[in-house]
């Protein structure tokens, strides 16, 4: 599992391009920050009101007035700006944030996302997730391909209540990368060294396979 997470994080980091403004969700997505090569100038957006998150502070330098959306103490990088929450979500809803990478519980072949509540369990709240999935110019979801019971989290339709409908642009799991296009869900990459057939077995959703991948498979 640790290995699966590493794989996902490493692949997700490749989504980030020089000059982008990026929102990373709480938890696993936050860990992507460390994998952004220093050659890339990236502004990380924290929805509580910071554009330009820096690294964690050195011990003793932490500031209760400087936290990220996960309520962790952080720093601000050079060229950062502090903003209020309305301005912060104006950036998101207005399509100014180039990329958001969030965790998922289920993703459907329509690009629906569920990641905020499980019926019967205490609902803690959606925080900024519903705004981010609607507003980010590109939404990438990262999650393990199957749950602890081995069931596919990549579904024909989500069972769980949605965070957003038809919002996912790309899904990165420990097994594969999928894109959601006007022609439906497309398998773009296989990350675990297996093949299309194995991905189909582990995936409830219906998908087509990208040409480049078919050629590769054919040539093997």
């Amino acid at each position: 599992m640790a290995n699966a997470r590493e794989k996902i994080i490493d692949r997700a980091a490749q989504e980030i391009e020089d000059g982008m403004n990026v929102n990373l969700g709480i938890g696993m997505p936050t860990m992507i920050a460390d994998r952004i090569p220093s050659s890339k100038h990236v502004f990380l957006h924290s929805e509580n009101g910071l554009l330009g998150i820096g690294p964690y502070p050195e011990a003793g330098e932490e500031d209760a007035d400087l936290i990220n959306a996960g309520k962790e103490t952080v720093t601000a990088k050079k060229g950062a700006s502090f903003i209020d929450n309305a301005e912060s979500f104006a950036m998101i809803r207005g399509g100014h944030v180039d990329l958001a990478i969030l965790g998922g519980m289920e993703v459907s072949e329509q690009g629906d996302l569920a990641n905020w509540m499980i019926p019967g369990k205490m609902v803690k709240g959606m925080g900024g997730a519903m705004d981010i999935v609607q507003g980010a110019r590109k939404l990438v979801i990262i999650m393990t391909h199957v749950n602890k019971q081995g069931d596919s989290k990549v579904r024909s339709a989500c069972d769980l209540p949605l965070t957003g409908s038809k919002v996912v642009d790309r899904l990165i799991t420990d097994m594969a990368v999928f894109d959601f296009t006007d022609e439906g869900m497309v398998l773009k990459e296989i990350l675990d060294g297996s093949d299309v057939e194995s991905v189909r077995e582990k995936t409830e959703a219906d998908f087509t396979v990208d040409k480049s991948l078919l050629q590769k498979e054919g040539s093997n």
């Binding site: 929805e47 011990a59 502090f82 929450n85 309305a86 979500f89 900024g128 981010i132």
Partner: protein, 231 residues
């Protein structure tokens, strides 16, 4: 024309049973610590509290929960508070979960006299149930309504005696929106400065939004998740 008020105790008397109170802060950062404590002491009941979070069990808005002063909580995330969970499951407490950006915009709209607005946030999700919707350029959007508080509680860094405020770093968060959305706004600050000491070009909350200004004698400023760099 000073807005410097006598005491927190005196100022929170503005808050009556059944009132809607909007409070600034994100997690425990930038919360109006002293006003909340005075409100807990006053014991006012049946409050509707609007704030992004509800503090933790023994700090911030959690103090009002412990006292059973809150009838309804409007927030985007309440996961840090077990008292809330048990009161909610008991049916003692009503909770309205609002997406964070929609919450910020509803409060901003309340201050700006915009009674309602459309947003794509939440379409196709449980929060869309029962809401009016409308298409704009082929995109379905929900109608959301403004939130106005009988009283607003704000925490700023510095304030002058006319009520001009500036905030510090991410402790700004919801505070400027909240300041504008209260019919009566009580602002607490770490430092009171002379009129003219704040540069008019960089004031975050203009004096017009503030009715009472108070200096908090102490600020605990709890950190919820201390994270530091590995040396």
């Amino acid at each position: 024309m000073t807005k410097l008020a006598t005491s927190f105790k005196e100022s929170v008397r503005k808050i009556k049973d059944g009132d809607t109170v909007i409070a600034g802060g994100f997690g425990l950062s930038g919360i109006p610590e002293n006003a909340i404590m005075a409100l807990a002491e006053q014991g006012t009941k049946d409050l509707t509290i609007v704030s992004n979070n509800c503090g933790v069990d023994d700090w911030g808005l959690g103090l009002l929960l412990q006292n059973r002063q809150i009838k309804k909580m409007i927030a985007s995330y309440v996961g840090e508070n077990k008292t809330l969970e048990s009161q909610y499951l008991n049916g003692e407490l009503e909770v309205e979960l609002v997406p964070q950006g929609t919450l910020a915009e509803r409060i901003r709209a309340g201050g700006a006299g915009i009674p309602g607005f459309y947003t794509p946030t939440g379409v196709g999700t449980p929060i869309a149930e029962g809401k009016e919707y409308k298409e704009f350029n082929g995109k379905t959007c929900l109608l959301e309504e403004a939130i106005v508080g009988d009283v607003a509680l704000v925490k700023a860094w510095k304030g002058d005696t006319y009520g001009n405020l500036i905030y510090r770093r991410t402790a700004r968060n919801f505070n400027p929106l909240v300041a504008a959305a209260g019919k009566y706004t009580i602002a607490e600050v770490e430092e009171v400065v002379e009129v003219g000491d704040l540069d008019p070009n960089y004031i975050h909350t203009p004096s017009i939004y503030v009715q009472d200004l108070l200096k908090g004698e102490t600020y605990e400023k709890r950190i919820e998740k201390l994270t530091v760099r590995e040396a």
